[in-house]
Protein backbone atom coordinates (compact mmCIF):
# COMPACT_ATOMS: atom_id res chain seq x y z
CA UNK A 1 0.00 0.00 0.00
CA UNK A 2 2.74 2.39 1.04
CA UNK A 3 4.91 1.09 -1.76
CA UNK A 4 2.30 1.77 -4.41
CA UNK A 5 1.81 5.31 -3.13
CA UNK A 6 5.55 5.81 -3.31
CA UNK A 7 5.56 4.48 -6.86
CA UNK A 8 2.70 6.78 -7.89
CA UNK A 9 4.50 9.75 -6.36
CA UNK A 10 7.64 8.80 -8.24
CA UNK A 11 5.84 8.39 -11.56
CA UNK A 12 4.24 11.79 -11.20
CA UNK A 13 7.50 13.49 -10.29
CA UNK A 14 9.70 11.96 -12.93
CA UNK A 15 8.07 11.82 -16.35
CA UNK A 16 10.73 11.22 -18.94
CA UNK A 17 9.84 12.28 -22.44
CA UNK A 18 10.68 10.89 -25.81
CA UNK A 19 10.01 13.19 -28.71
CA UNK A 20 9.11 11.78 -32.10
CA UNK A 21 8.28 13.77 -35.21
CA UNK A 22 6.02 11.71 -37.46
CA UNK A 23 5.92 14.17 -40.34
CA UNK A 24 5.54 17.64 -38.90
CA UNK A 25 6.53 21.07 -40.14
CA UNK A 26 8.90 21.47 -37.21
CA UNK A 27 6.92 24.26 -35.56
CA UNK A 28 5.67 22.01 -32.75
CA UNK A 29 9.06 20.36 -32.44
CA UNK A 30 10.94 23.56 -31.83
CA UNK A 31 8.37 24.58 -29.23
CA UNK A 32 8.93 21.21 -27.54
CA UNK A 33 12.69 21.70 -27.53
CA UNK A 34 12.15 25.26 -26.29
CA UNK A 35 10.59 23.72 -23.17
CA UNK A 36 14.03 22.73 -21.96
CA UNK A 37 15.49 26.17 -22.37
CA UNK A 38 15.83 28.70 -19.57
CA UNK A 39 12.63 30.60 -20.24
CA UNK A 40 10.36 27.58 -19.72
CA UNK A 41 12.66 25.05 -18.02
CA UNK A 42 10.54 21.93 -17.57
CA UNK A 43 13.35 20.16 -15.74
CA UNK A 44 11.77 21.78 -12.72
CA UNK A 45 9.12 19.08 -12.92
CA UNK A 46 11.65 16.34 -13.32
CA UNK A 47 10.98 16.19 -17.04
CA UNK A 48 13.94 15.04 -19.12
CA UNK A 49 14.21 14.48 -22.82
CA UNK A 50 15.51 10.96 -23.31
CA UNK A 51 17.32 9.56 -26.32
CA UNK A 52 16.02 6.02 -26.35
CA UNK A 53 12.40 4.74 -26.27
CA UNK A 54 13.39 2.27 -23.59
CA UNK A 55 14.17 5.05 -21.16
CA UNK A 56 11.02 7.11 -21.60
CA UNK A 57 7.56 7.22 -20.02
CA UNK A 58 5.81 9.77 -22.17
CA UNK A 59 5.89 9.81 -25.95
CA UNK A 60 5.41 13.24 -27.46
CA UNK A 61 4.29 12.85 -31.03
CA UNK A 62 4.10 15.75 -33.43
CA UNK A 63 3.11 15.57 -37.04
CA UNK A 64 0.48 14.03 -39.23
CA UNK A 65 1.88 10.49 -39.30
CA UNK A 66 2.99 9.98 -42.88
CA UNK A 67 2.77 6.52 -44.38
CA UNK A 68 6.52 6.14 -44.11
CA UNK A 69 6.50 6.92 -40.41
CA UNK A 70 3.45 4.91 -39.36
CA UNK A 71 5.21 1.60 -38.88
CA UNK A 72 8.11 3.21 -37.04
CA UNK A 73 5.77 5.04 -34.69
CA UNK A 74 4.13 1.78 -33.74
CA UNK A 75 7.47 0.13 -33.16
CA UNK A 76 8.67 2.97 -30.96
CA UNK A 77 5.52 2.77 -28.86
CA UNK A 78 6.01 -0.96 -28.42
CA UNK A 79 9.59 -0.48 -27.30
CA UNK A 80 8.59 1.73 -24.41
CA UNK A 81 8.23 -0.13 -21.14
CA UNK A 82 4.71 0.27 -19.76
CA UNK A 83 3.19 2.27 -18.13
CA UNK A 84 3.69 4.66 -21.01
CA UNK A 85 1.62 7.60 -22.20
CA UNK A 86 1.20 9.30 -25.53
CA UNK A 87 0.64 12.98 -26.10
CA UNK A 88 -0.33 14.18 -29.59
CA UNK A 89 0.89 17.72 -30.05
CA UNK A 90 -0.41 20.22 -32.53
CA UNK A 91 -3.34 20.30 -34.90
CA UNK A 92 -1.48 17.89 -37.17
CA UNK A 93 -1.06 15.31 -34.43
CA UNK A 94 -4.65 15.60 -33.35
CA UNK A 95 -6.33 15.27 -36.71
CA UNK A 96 -3.98 16.05 -39.57
CA UNK A 97 -4.20 19.83 -39.35
CA UNK A 98 -3.97 21.74 -42.59
CA UNK A 99 -2.72 18.63 -44.41
CA UNK A 100 -5.60 16.32 -43.50
CA UNK A 101 -6.60 14.11 -46.38
CA UNK A 102 -3.43 14.45 -48.42
CA UNK A 103 -2.30 11.34 -50.21
CA UNK A 104 0.78 10.23 -48.22
CA UNK A 105 -0.79 10.63 -44.77
CA UNK A 106 -2.68 8.87 -42.06
CA UNK A 107 -3.88 12.18 -40.64
CA UNK A 108 -3.60 11.86 -36.90
CA UNK A 109 -1.63 9.97 -34.27
CA UNK A 110 -4.59 8.05 -32.92
CA UNK A 111 -4.83 6.17 -36.21
CA UNK A 112 -1.75 4.26 -35.15
CA UNK A 113 -1.35 4.26 -31.38
CA UNK A 114 -3.65 5.10 -28.44
CA UNK A 115 -3.40 8.73 -27.39
CA UNK A 116 -3.82 9.94 -23.83
CA UNK A 117 -3.69 13.70 -24.32
CA UNK A 118 -4.30 16.00 -27.26
CA UNK A 119 -2.73 19.45 -27.30
CA UNK A 120 -4.13 21.49 -30.19
CA UNK A 121 -2.48 24.53 -31.71
CA UNK A 122 -0.48 25.36 -34.78
CA UNK A 123 1.92 25.29 -33.07
CA UNK A 124 0.75 25.29 -29.45
CA UNK A 125 2.69 27.73 -27.34
CA UNK A 126 5.17 26.16 -24.90
CA UNK A 127 2.91 27.22 -22.05
CA UNK A 128 0.10 25.17 -23.60
CA UNK A 129 2.37 22.13 -23.90
CA UNK A 130 3.43 22.41 -20.27
CA UNK A 131 -0.22 22.74 -19.30
CA UNK A 132 -1.04 19.58 -21.23
CA UNK A 133 1.78 17.58 -19.68
CA UNK A 134 0.91 18.69 -16.16
CA UNK A 135 -2.76 17.80 -16.71
CA UNK A 136 -1.71 14.37 -17.91
CA UNK A 137 0.38 13.87 -14.79
CA UNK A 138 -2.61 14.83 -12.63
CA UNK A 139 -4.73 12.14 -14.29
CA UNK A 140 -2.13 9.54 -13.36
CA UNK A 141 -3.37 9.42 -9.82
CA UNK A 142 -6.98 9.13 -10.91
CA UNK A 143 -6.33 6.41 -13.48
CA UNK A 144 -4.21 4.27 -11.16
CA UNK A 145 -6.93 4.23 -8.55
CA UNK A 146 -9.24 2.45 -10.97
Amino acid sequence: MCASRLVRWAEKRSPWLLHFNSGACNGCDIEVVALLTPRYDVTRFGIQLEPSPRHADVLLVTGVVTRQCAERLKRIYEQMPKPAFVIAIGACGCSGGVFAGNYPLLSGVDKVIPVDMYIPGCPPKPEAIIDGVVKLLKTLEASEDE
Partner: protein, 334 residues
Amino acid sequence: MVSIDLVFFIRSLLFPGFLFILLMSLFYDWVTRKVEARMQNRVGPNTAGPAGIFQPLADIVKLLAKERLVPHDVRSLAFTLAPVLSLAIFIFTLFFLPIDGSTTLSGISFEGDLIVILSIITLANLFLFLAGWASTNAYSKIGASRVLVMFLGYDIPLVIIALTPAFLANSLSVSTIATSQSIPFLFLIPWSFVLFLVTLQAELEKDPFDIPDAETEIVGGYETEYGGTGLAFLKLAKDVQLFLGSALVVELFLGGPYGPVYFDMPALWFTIWFILKVLFVVILGEFIANIFARLRIDQVLSISWKQVMPLSVVSLMATLIVAFWVLPIIGVGG
Protein backbone atom coordinates in the same frame (compact mmCIF):
# COMPACT_ATOMS: atom_id res chain seq x y z
CA MET B 1 40.07 -10.33 10.69
CA VAL B 2 36.69 -8.80 10.48
CA SER B 3 34.30 -10.09 13.15
CA ILE B 4 30.69 -10.69 12.14
CA ASP B 5 28.49 -9.15 14.78
CA LEU B 6 25.76 -6.55 15.17
CA VAL B 7 28.22 -3.69 14.62
CA PHE B 8 29.26 -5.34 11.38
CA PHE B 9 25.69 -5.34 10.08
CA ILE B 10 24.93 -1.80 11.20
CA ARG B 11 28.10 -0.42 9.74
CA SER B 12 27.93 -2.24 6.44
CA LEU B 13 24.24 -1.98 5.76
CA LEU B 14 23.24 1.32 7.32
CA PHE B 15 25.99 3.73 8.15
CA PRO B 16 28.52 4.37 6.73
CA GLY B 17 27.72 1.47 4.48
CA PHE B 18 25.08 0.58 1.96
CA LEU B 19 22.21 2.89 2.86
CA PHE B 20 24.38 5.90 3.59
CA ILE B 21 26.26 5.42 0.33
CA LEU B 22 23.06 5.18 -1.71
CA LEU B 23 21.51 8.21 -0.07
CA MET B 24 24.64 10.29 -0.49
CA SER B 25 24.94 9.23 -4.12
CA LEU B 26 21.41 10.40 -4.79
CA PHE B 27 22.16 13.62 -2.93
CA TYR B 28 25.24 14.32 -5.06
CA ASP B 29 23.25 13.51 -8.19
CA TRP B 30 20.84 16.27 -7.16
CA VAL B 31 23.79 18.61 -6.56
CA THR B 32 25.13 17.98 -10.07
CA ARG B 33 21.73 18.64 -11.59
CA LYS B 34 21.37 21.89 -9.73
CA VAL B 35 24.87 23.06 -10.60
CA GLU B 36 24.31 22.18 -14.25
CA ALA B 37 20.98 23.99 -14.25
CA ARG B 38 22.34 27.14 -12.63
CA MET B 39 25.28 27.22 -15.00
CA GLN B 40 22.86 26.99 -17.90
CA ASN B 41 20.74 29.82 -16.53
CA ARG B 42 17.94 27.44 -15.56
CA VAL B 43 16.43 26.39 -12.26
CA GLY B 44 16.69 22.62 -12.28
CA PRO B 45 14.43 20.19 -10.43
CA ASN B 46 12.44 21.95 -7.72
CA THR B 47 9.12 20.13 -7.32
CA ALA B 48 10.07 16.73 -5.92
CA GLY B 49 10.61 17.59 -2.30
CA PRO B 50 12.09 20.87 -0.97
CA ALA B 51 14.25 22.36 -3.72
CA GLY B 52 13.75 19.16 -5.68
CA ILE B 53 16.07 17.15 -3.46
CA PHE B 54 14.07 13.95 -3.90
CA GLN B 55 14.23 14.11 -7.70
CA PRO B 56 16.93 11.42 -8.11
CA LEU B 57 15.01 9.18 -5.71
CA ALA B 58 11.83 9.67 -7.74
CA ASP B 59 13.72 8.76 -10.91
CA ILE B 60 15.08 5.53 -9.44
CA VAL B 61 11.78 4.43 -7.89
CA LYS B 62 9.93 5.12 -11.12
CA LEU B 63 12.42 3.09 -13.10
CA LEU B 64 12.21 0.18 -10.72
CA ALA B 65 8.43 0.13 -11.06
CA LYS B 66 8.41 -0.23 -14.82
CA GLU B 67 7.62 -3.20 -16.96
CA ARG B 68 10.57 -5.49 -17.45
CA LEU B 69 11.59 -5.60 -21.10
CA VAL B 70 14.51 -7.69 -22.24
CA PRO B 71 15.25 -7.58 -25.97
CA HIS B 72 15.18 -11.10 -27.32
CA ASP B 73 18.64 -11.29 -28.79
CA VAL B 74 20.72 -10.28 -25.81
CA ARG B 75 23.01 -12.50 -23.82
CA SER B 76 20.53 -12.37 -21.02
CA LEU B 77 22.68 -13.38 -18.06
CA ALA B 78 25.31 -10.77 -18.80
CA PHE B 79 22.61 -8.27 -19.73
CA THR B 80 20.87 -8.62 -16.39
CA LEU B 81 23.91 -9.01 -14.16
CA ALA B 82 26.25 -6.36 -15.56
CA PRO B 83 24.47 -3.32 -14.06
CA VAL B 84 23.96 -5.07 -10.73
CA LEU B 85 27.58 -6.17 -10.46
CA SER B 86 28.79 -2.72 -11.42
CA LEU B 87 26.74 -1.18 -8.66
CA ALA B 88 27.78 -3.76 -6.12
CA ILE B 89 31.48 -3.34 -6.84
CA PHE B 90 31.37 0.44 -6.61
CA ILE B 91 29.56 0.26 -3.28
CA PHE B 92 31.97 -2.31 -1.91
CA THR B 93 34.98 -0.23 -2.90
CA LEU B 94 33.71 2.59 -0.75
CA PHE B 95 34.06 0.34 2.29
CA PHE B 96 37.82 0.87 2.08
CA LEU B 97 37.59 4.62 2.48
CA PRO B 98 37.43 6.14 5.96
CA ILE B 99 34.21 8.09 6.11
CA ASP B 100 33.56 8.68 9.80
CA GLY B 101 37.16 8.45 10.82
CA SER B 102 37.60 4.76 10.19
CA THR B 103 36.78 2.39 7.40
CA THR B 104 33.30 0.89 7.23
CA LEU B 105 34.44 -2.48 8.47
CA SER B 106 37.20 -2.26 10.99
CA GLY B 107 40.33 -4.12 10.05
CA ILE B 108 39.55 -4.08 6.35
CA SER B 109 42.31 -1.71 5.38
CA PHE B 110 45.82 -2.97 4.73
CA GLU B 111 49.00 -1.84 3.09
CA GLY B 112 48.38 -1.77 -0.64
CA ASP B 113 44.66 -1.28 -0.52
CA LEU B 114 45.09 1.78 -2.72
CA ILE B 115 46.24 -0.49 -5.54
CA VAL B 116 43.32 -2.81 -4.88
CA ILE B 117 40.86 0.09 -4.99
CA LEU B 118 42.23 1.28 -8.31
CA SER B 119 41.98 -2.21 -9.76
CA ILE B 120 38.44 -2.70 -8.53
CA ILE B 121 37.39 0.60 -10.09
CA THR B 122 38.77 -0.65 -13.38
CA LEU B 123 36.89 -3.92 -12.98
CA ALA B 124 33.62 -2.12 -12.33
CA ASN B 125 34.15 -0.05 -15.45
CA LEU B 126 34.60 -3.25 -17.39
CA PHE B 127 31.19 -4.35 -16.19
CA LEU B 128 29.76 -1.17 -17.65
CA PHE B 129 31.41 -2.16 -20.89
CA LEU B 130 29.84 -5.59 -20.58
CA ALA B 131 26.42 -4.01 -20.18
CA GLY B 132 26.78 -2.49 -23.62
CA TRP B 133 28.39 -5.53 -25.14
CA ALA B 134 25.61 -7.83 -24.00
CA SER B 135 23.00 -5.74 -25.85
CA THR B 136 22.42 -6.42 -29.51
CA ASN B 137 22.06 -2.83 -30.54
CA ALA B 138 24.88 -1.43 -32.64
CA TYR B 139 24.76 1.78 -30.64
CA SER B 140 25.32 -0.14 -27.42
CA LYS B 141 28.31 -1.89 -28.90
CA ILE B 142 29.88 1.31 -30.08
CA GLY B 143 29.25 2.86 -26.66
CA ALA B 144 30.78 -0.17 -24.98
CA SER B 145 33.85 -0.16 -27.20
CA ARG B 146 34.30 3.53 -26.47
CA VAL B 147 34.46 2.76 -22.75
CA LEU B 148 37.39 0.47 -23.44
CA VAL B 149 39.13 2.86 -25.82
CA MET B 150 38.88 5.72 -23.33
CA PHE B 151 40.19 3.37 -20.70
CA LEU B 152 43.28 2.87 -22.84
CA GLY B 153 43.85 6.54 -22.62
CA TYR B 154 43.32 7.56 -19.05
CA ASP B 155 43.88 4.53 -16.89
CA ILE B 156 47.67 4.60 -16.72
CA PRO B 157 47.91 8.32 -15.89
CA LEU B 158 45.18 7.81 -13.31
CA VAL B 159 47.17 5.13 -11.50
CA ILE B 160 50.41 7.10 -11.65
CA ILE B 161 48.81 10.21 -10.23
CA ALA B 162 46.94 8.26 -7.60
CA LEU B 163 50.25 6.91 -6.35
CA THR B 164 51.83 10.32 -5.79
CA PRO B 165 50.14 10.92 -2.42
CA ALA B 166 51.40 7.48 -1.41
CA PHE B 167 54.97 8.72 -1.71
CA LEU B 168 54.25 11.69 0.48
CA ALA B 169 52.54 9.60 3.10
CA ASN B 170 55.01 6.76 2.76
CA SER B 171 52.18 4.24 2.65
CA LEU B 172 49.97 2.49 0.11
CA SER B 173 46.95 2.32 2.39
CA VAL B 174 44.24 4.87 1.81
CA SER B 175 43.43 5.16 5.50
CA THR B 176 47.06 5.96 6.31
CA ILE B 177 47.30 8.46 3.48
CA ALA B 178 44.20 10.19 4.78
CA THR B 179 45.50 10.39 8.32
CA SER B 180 48.95 11.66 7.39
CA GLN B 181 47.67 14.89 5.87
CA SER B 182 48.33 17.47 8.52
CA ILE B 183 48.65 19.77 5.53
CA PRO B 184 46.31 18.49 2.81
CA PHE B 185 48.35 17.20 -0.08
CA LEU B 186 46.43 19.55 -2.37
CA PHE B 187 48.78 22.29 -1.15
CA LEU B 188 51.93 20.20 -1.26
CA ILE B 189 51.49 18.70 -4.71
CA PRO B 190 48.87 20.86 -6.45
CA TRP B 191 49.92 19.67 -9.91
CA SER B 192 48.90 16.17 -8.93
CA PHE B 193 45.52 17.35 -7.77
CA VAL B 194 44.79 19.07 -11.06
CA LEU B 195 45.90 16.08 -13.14
CA PHE B 196 43.91 13.72 -10.98
CA LEU B 197 40.80 15.81 -11.51
CA VAL B 198 41.31 15.66 -15.27
CA THR B 199 41.73 11.90 -15.36
CA LEU B 200 38.82 11.54 -12.97
CA GLN B 201 36.58 13.44 -15.42
CA ALA B 202 37.54 10.85 -18.02
CA GLU B 203 36.93 7.98 -15.60
CA LEU B 204 33.51 9.30 -14.69
CA GLU B 205 32.67 9.91 -18.34
CA LYS B 206 31.83 13.55 -17.84
CA ASP B 207 32.31 16.39 -20.29
CA PRO B 208 34.67 16.96 -22.01
CA PHE B 209 35.13 13.19 -21.87
CA ASP B 210 31.54 11.93 -21.85
CA ILE B 211 32.08 10.10 -25.09
CA PRO B 212 30.55 6.72 -24.20
CA ASP B 213 27.35 8.54 -23.42
CA ALA B 214 27.34 10.84 -26.42
CA GLU B 215 23.62 11.00 -26.87
CA THR B 216 23.61 12.85 -30.14
CA GLU B 217 25.94 10.38 -31.76
CA ILE B 218 25.13 6.98 -30.39
CA VAL B 219 21.77 7.47 -28.69
CA GLY B 220 22.13 6.02 -25.20
CA GLY B 221 25.52 4.38 -25.66
CA TYR B 222 25.73 1.24 -23.57
CA GLU B 223 22.49 2.24 -21.81
CA THR B 224 20.39 2.21 -24.97
CA GLU B 225 18.68 -1.14 -24.58
CA TYR B 226 18.14 -0.91 -20.86
CA GLY B 227 14.77 0.09 -19.50
CA GLY B 228 13.18 -0.10 -16.10
CA THR B 229 15.19 -2.09 -13.56
CA GLY B 230 18.38 -2.44 -15.57
CA LEU B 231 18.48 1.28 -16.23
CA ALA B 232 17.84 2.01 -12.56
CA PHE B 233 20.86 -0.04 -11.60
CA LEU B 234 23.01 1.55 -14.28
CA LYS B 235 22.06 5.02 -13.15
CA LEU B 236 22.68 4.13 -9.52
CA ALA B 237 26.02 2.63 -10.49
CA LYS B 238 27.00 5.89 -12.21
CA ASP B 239 25.91 7.90 -9.17
CA VAL B 240 27.89 5.73 -6.79
CA GLN B 241 30.85 5.95 -9.15
CA LEU B 242 30.67 9.74 -8.90
CA PHE B 243 30.61 9.50 -5.11
CA LEU B 244 33.49 7.03 -5.11
CA GLY B 245 35.66 9.09 -7.44
CA SER B 246 35.10 12.27 -5.47
CA ALA B 247 35.64 10.45 -2.19
CA LEU B 248 38.95 9.14 -3.48
CA VAL B 249 40.02 12.69 -4.33
CA VAL B 250 39.11 13.76 -0.81
CA GLU B 251 41.01 10.90 0.81
CA LEU B 252 44.11 11.34 -1.30
CA PHE B 253 44.38 15.10 -1.56
CA LEU B 254 42.00 16.88 0.76
CA GLY B 255 42.87 15.27 4.05
CA GLY B 256 40.10 12.68 4.15
CA PRO B 257 37.34 13.14 6.68
CA TYR B 258 39.67 14.76 9.20
CA GLY B 259 39.12 18.26 10.37
CA PRO B 260 38.34 20.25 13.53
CA VAL B 261 36.23 18.31 16.05
CA TYR B 262 33.83 19.98 18.46
CA PHE B 263 32.04 18.73 21.55
CA ASP B 264 34.16 15.59 21.55
CA MET B 265 32.05 13.86 18.84
CA PRO B 266 34.65 12.83 16.29
CA ALA B 267 32.47 10.43 14.28
CA LEU B 268 29.83 13.10 13.65
CA TRP B 269 32.27 15.83 12.73
CA PHE B 270 34.42 13.61 10.57
CA THR B 271 31.31 12.62 8.65
CA ILE B 272 30.31 16.25 8.23
CA TRP B 273 33.75 17.23 6.94
CA PHE B 274 33.74 14.28 4.63
CA ILE B 275 30.37 15.21 3.14
CA LEU B 276 31.42 18.85 2.71
CA LYS B 277 34.72 18.01 1.07
CA VAL B 278 33.09 15.57 -1.35
CA LEU B 279 30.50 18.26 -2.13
CA PHE B 280 33.31 20.62 -3.05
CA VAL B 281 34.84 18.10 -5.46
CA VAL B 282 31.47 17.23 -7.01
CA ILE B 283 30.68 20.89 -7.65
CA LEU B 284 34.13 21.43 -9.10
CA GLY B 285 33.74 18.44 -11.42
CA GLU B 286 30.31 19.55 -12.62
CA PHE B 287 31.61 23.07 -13.21
CA ILE B 288 34.37 21.73 -15.45
CA ALA B 289 31.87 19.53 -17.29
CA ASN B 290 29.71 22.50 -18.20
CA ILE B 291 32.30 24.76 -19.71
CA PHE B 292 33.56 22.45 -22.43
CA ALA B 293 32.15 20.74 -25.48
CA ARG B 294 32.55 17.01 -25.87
CA LEU B 295 35.80 15.88 -27.46
CA ARG B 296 36.10 13.22 -30.11
CA ILE B 297 37.59 9.92 -29.05
CA ASP B 298 40.73 10.30 -31.12
CA GLN B 299 41.24 13.74 -29.62
CA VAL B 300 40.88 12.27 -26.13
CA LEU B 301 43.47 9.60 -26.83
CA SER B 302 45.77 12.15 -28.37
CA ILE B 303 45.51 14.42 -25.34
CA SER B 304 45.90 11.44 -23.03
CA TRP B 305 49.07 10.11 -24.54
CA LYS B 306 50.68 13.32 -25.75
CA GLN B 307 49.91 15.57 -22.82
CA VAL B 308 48.45 13.92 -19.76
CA MET B 309 50.79 10.94 -19.72
CA PRO B 310 54.06 12.90 -19.91
CA LEU B 311 52.69 15.36 -17.39
CA SER B 312 51.85 12.58 -14.96
CA VAL B 313 55.38 11.22 -15.17
CA VAL B 314 56.79 14.69 -14.59
CA SER B 315 54.36 15.14 -11.74
CA LEU B 316 55.58 11.91 -10.23
CA MET B 317 59.16 13.14 -10.43
CA ALA B 318 58.19 16.42 -8.82
CA THR B 319 56.37 14.60 -6.05
CA LEU B 320 59.40 12.45 -5.34
CA ILE B 321 61.50 15.56 -5.00
CA VAL B 322 58.96 17.01 -2.59
CA ALA B 323 58.70 13.78 -0.65
CA PHE B 324 62.36 13.01 -0.18
CA TRP B 325 64.01 16.38 -0.06
CA VAL B 326 61.51 19.13 0.67
CA LEU B 327 59.38 17.54 3.31
CA PRO B 328 62.13 16.39 5.66
CA ILE B 329 63.44 19.94 5.58
CA ILE B 330 60.03 21.30 6.53
CA GLY B 331 59.60 18.42 8.92
CA VAL B 332 56.24 17.20 7.68
CA GLY B 333 54.96 13.84 6.63
CA GLY B 334 54.96 10.28 7.89
